[in-house]
């Protein structure tokens, strides 16, 4: 899991295992809270030395590169068997509609940043495709491309729709194989 330290603006990894850079002993719920503190959804959280955290979504929405770096520092330069990247559907899913009420309160640059996540996410995917171009059965990206645009993260009552779109996506994938 991946969140941002707001002050230093650097990503922080929350690990369940020992590493040279293990984060201060935080609780499971604290790590979960820090990695879901998406601006405009929830306020930031302070853990331990009172560092404020926000969700790593801004700039690190697709953590493939972070995972590769982590694997490299843990296991050394070993052959990578498989990397599966799972998207949260079309990027607009994680966006927020520009409602007038919300716009008055939240700085508009946040909306611009949220839009930039789409680009950021796809750019990382493109970079991964390039990196694994010579290893055709190593890198996989699963991302439900159609139907998710209209479903907002907060629409918990529409989980059935998410399920239906995902089922359709996997059927299409199987056909294309």
């Amino acid at each position: 899991m991946n969140a941002y330290n707001m002050d230093a603006n650097i990503p922080v990894l929350f690990r369940t295992y020992e590493s040279r850079e293990t984060h201060s002993n935080c609780k499971i719920w604290e790590a979960a809270r820090a990695t879901s503190a998406a601006p405009t959804f929830f306020k930031h959280i302070k853990i331990g030395r009172a560092q404020p955290y926000i969700d790593g979504g801004l700039g690190r929405n697709n953590p493939s590169r972070v995972v590769l770096d982590e694997a490299n520092s843990l296991f050394g330069a070993r052959h990578i068997g498989c990397l599966v990247s799972i998207g949260s559907g079309h990027a607009e899913t994680i966006g927020i509609k520009k409602s007038r009420g919300l716009r008055q309160i939240v700085a508009t640059d946040i909306f611009d940043t949220l839009k930039a996540i789409t680009t950021d996410c796809e750019a990382t995917h493109e970079a991964m495709l390039g990196l694994f171009a010579k290893l055709p059965t190593t890198y996989f990206r699963l991302n439900v491309e159609h139907g998710m645009q209209e479903i907002k993260v907060s629409e918990w009552e529409r989980l059935g729709n998410v399920e239906a779109h995902t089922a359709q996506y996997t059927r299409d994938l199987k056909k294309s194989l």
């Binding site: 899991m1 929350f14 690990r15 369940t16 295992y17 020992e18 293990t22 984060h23 002993n25 935080c26 609780k27 499971i28 719920w29 604290e30 790590a31 979960a32 809270r33 879901s36 503190a37 601006p39 405009t40 959804f41 929830f42 306020k43 930031h44 959280i45 927020i96 009420g101 919300l102 309160i105 939240v106 993260v153 907060s154 629409e155 918990w156 009552e157 989980l159």
Partner: protein, 71 residues
């Protein structure tokens, strides 16, 4: 949920649904920093952790050295 709490997919979906309902069905009346109440999110997260590990304040770090899924 799939990682540290070692849930299977069906269990994770079930818990996510309960959590999302608890958190998102009750937006803040006055939006400050964030549209939804972080306290409700924390309550829901602690409830999930309690159900999976027995203790809502379980630590993220696992000292178990047996090879398992790392998250």
């Amino acid at each position: 949920m799939l990682g540290r709490l070692r849930m299977d997919v069906d269990m994770a979906i079930k818990h996510y649904n309960t959590l999302a309902k608890h958190v998102f069905s009750n937006p803040k009346r006055w939006q400050g920093e964030g549209k939804f109440k972080a306290t409700r999110l924390e309550e829901a997260m602690k409830a999930v952790v309690r159900e999976a590990t027995g203790d809502p304040d379980s630590l993220l770090l696992e000292h178990d050295e047996t090879p398992r899924c790392r998250t």
